[in-house]
């Protein structure tokens, strides 16, 4: 940043002409930024106003960038009522929450253990294990659904959240383990060594000494795991068949499957409700997510 200001300072000395050019450049720059922001946010705006329209408004087609009336009827319908397809969106949100939260917990536990082992113990074949874990994040999701469908059938796990929680680990564990292995290796060893000298077992040392220090890293992994689990569609589509157990993305699709009339307002109300949690997480934990993502990506 200092480079930018010092550069700017120098430019300022160059007098009026340069200042004019600078203003033009600035304007161009802010215009460009505005284009990016509008392109990112406008679809959300469209979704929100569509969700606030009544079915009568919708039948008139698009006539304005503003809603004619504001109606929360679609939200009320989505949450309070069960659609003719057997989908209650409030229930679907709850289902998504249960699945994503469970996935997050399991991910954190497994990633902490594996990350600790990979950064702190002298196990053999570390490169192989890390390489394998990384490789699993490249695995084509749709190539997995067939065999896993058959496997879960034998285990009686079809139409069961557990099938989702287990499978979602393929999204969350690779990035979680890599990130935490990294994070742990940056914590000074002296901390736990001191504890072990005091007679604590290594697991105790991990729990009492390392974990408290690693809370920011664990939090990052938890946020990422939650978002990744919240966003899945393909596995839920393949393993869940009861409308009462649909996760939010499945329920959005099911709301679109209305043979008689497509209620864009109700679908978009559901879309808003699904987007809201992740949008809030991004706004409040943006730095963490980016650090997690880029740490996972920049290795």
């Amino acid at each position: 940043m200092s480079a930018v200001t010092s550069f700017a300072d120098r430019v300022r000395l160059d007098g009026w002409r340069a200042t004019q050019g600078r203003i033009a450049k600035r304007t161009g720059f802010y215009l460009l930024i505005s284009v990016f922001v509008i392109a990112s946010l406008f679809p959300f705006y469209w979704m929100v106003i569509t969700s606030l329209k009544t079915s009568a408004d919708l039948s008139k087609g698009t006539t304005s960038l503003l809603p004619a009336h504001i109606s929360f009827g679609s939200y009320k319908f989505d949450i309070a009522e069960t659609s003719k397809t057997g989908v209650n969106f409030g229930q679907a949100l709850l289902n998504s929450l249960i699945v994503a939260a469970s996935t997050t917990v399991v991910t954190v536990v497994l990633a902490v253990l594996a990350g600790y082992a990979l950064s702190r113990t002298r196990i053999r074949a570390k490169a192989l294990i890390l390489g394998f874990i990384l490789l699993t994040s490249f695995f084509p999701v749709l190539a997995m659904v067939g065999p896993l469908f058959l496997a879960y059938r034998h285990l009686g796990l079809l139409d069961n959240y557990l099938a989702l929680i287990i499978t979602y680990l393929v999204y969350t564990l690779p990035i979680g383990t890599w990130f935490l292995a990294n994070f742990f290796s940056q914590i000074p060893r002296q901390l736990e060594e001191a504890a072990v000298v005091d007679g604590a077992t290594r697991l105790q040392a991990l729990r009492r000494i390392i974990l408290p220090v690693a809370v920011p890293g664990i939090f990052t992994v938890a946020i990422l795991a939650f978002i990744l689990a919240w966003n899945d569609f393909a596995f839920a589509l393949s393993f869940i068949s009861s409308p009462g157990k649909y996760t939010a993305p499945l329920a959005i699709v099911a709301l679109g499957h209305s043979q008689y009339q497509v209620f864009y307002n109700r679908i978009d109300a559901a879309v808003v409700l699904t987007t809201l949690p992740v949008a809030l997480i991004v706004i409040f934990a943006q730095r963490r997510i980016i650090s997690g993502l880029t740490a996972g990506a920049l290795k």
Binding site: W46, V145, G146, F233
Partner: protein, 329 residues
């Protein structure tokens, strides 16, 4: 490799690799029996901690792969009510000769090249813009980043709404501006469908590229630029000769991740076009899904899966080669 040097320069960008301490192979040689026991204990403890994660990942990736391999050599249509029978290479013969697999593969590759190119160019522009200091940068960064965090179903649904002929924005805007195409039914034609899919995909994934590139940009020391300015280098020269080489590692990572996820596109296609019109947007993942869960043909699906995994491995191999994990540890 050309990437070696910039990687070294941009060293601080890349957080220390896990296990960067003493290498297992180079661990202190145990001097006596007691030390040897301690090392064995340490290892046992380590394996136990790492085992659950590895076992789970083996179960949900390697097991399906083996199952797919087995299935791909069998006729196994669950709905036929007949047990699986040995099929030899028949399923592979099918995927190479039928009129589904090869067209899907070509479509998928075409989409991958186009989407990754466009998203990388825009993402690079976005990253460069966000790398400059300006008021409200944090907010802008959050705003452009939100699309990445929404479910793919949401991005597909949003753009389906935007392109809807009756209640959408796109046709409304075209009509207001008196541009042609205001009455297009986007999802009814091959190229217009692809355009809609591309927009939905780029909208959600360009931020990812931008974020990775931004991380790469932010670790480039500013004094390099000051030196370049003093030397009278034009902005383009600075970008071409300084920024781009230093950005190469981040760019490669972004490219490989995006190439792969683009190649495996499914959610957006499922929700926007269902592979149609006709089969003009049927991509490989969609074909595989149909084989497994609408036709319950696990033999054919297995063969398609093996092909999918092979392609993914090629992309992953590029990644591993470029970053030489084994050397880093």
């Amino acid at each position: 490799m050309t990437t070696q040097k910039p990687a070294a320069t941009a060293g601080p960008a890349l957080p220390a690799r896990p296990g960067a301490g003493p290498r297992p192979g180079h661990a202190r040689v145990p001097r006596n029996r007691q030390q040897f026991n301690l090392l064995a204990q340490d290892r046992r403890f380590g394996y136990m901690l790492v085992a659950p994660a590895v076992i789970v990942l083996l179960a949900i990736t390697v097991y399906p792969l083996i199952y797919n391999l087995w299935n791909s050599f069998h006729n196994d249509v669950v709905t036929s009510g007949v047990p699986a029978t040995w099929a030899g290479l028949a399923n592979y013969q099918r995927i190479f000769t039928d009129d589904l697999f090869t067209p899907s593969l070509l479509r998928t590759l075409g989409f991958t090249v186009v989407s990754v190119t466009i998203e990388t160019l825009i993402g690079l522009g976005l990253a460069l813009a966000l790398n400059r200091a300006f008021r409200g940068r944090g907010l802008v960064r959050a705003a452009v980043f939100i699309p990445w965090a929404v479910p793919t179903v949401v991005s597909a649904q949003l753009w389906k709404d935007m392109f809807d002929p009756q209640n959408g924005f796109v046709n409304y805007a075209l009509g207001l501006l008196h541009l042609p195409g205001a009455h297009t039914t986007w999802l009814a034609g091959t190229w217009t469908s692809w355009a809609a899919i591309l927009v939905a995909d780029a909208w959600r994934n360009t931020p990812f590229i931008a974020i990775v590139l931004l991380a790469g940009l932010q670790v480039i020391p500013h004094d390099i630029y000051e030196a370049a300015t003093v030397d009278g280098a034009s902005p383009w020269q600075t970008f071409r000769r300084l920024t781009l080489p230093l950005l190469k590692p981040a760019l490669l990572v972004a490219l490989i991740f995006r190439t792969l996820s683009s190649f495996l596109i499914f959610d957006v296609v499922y929700n926007m076009t269902g592979g149609g019109p006709g089969s003009s947007t049927t991509v490989l993942s969609y074909l595989d899904y149909q084989a497994f869960l609408t036709q319950f043909d696990f033999g054919y699906g297995g063969a398609v899966s093996v092909a999918l995994v092979a392609f993914a491995l090629v992309i992953a191999a590029m990644y591993v080669r470029v970053f030489r994990i084994e050397e880093a540890l």
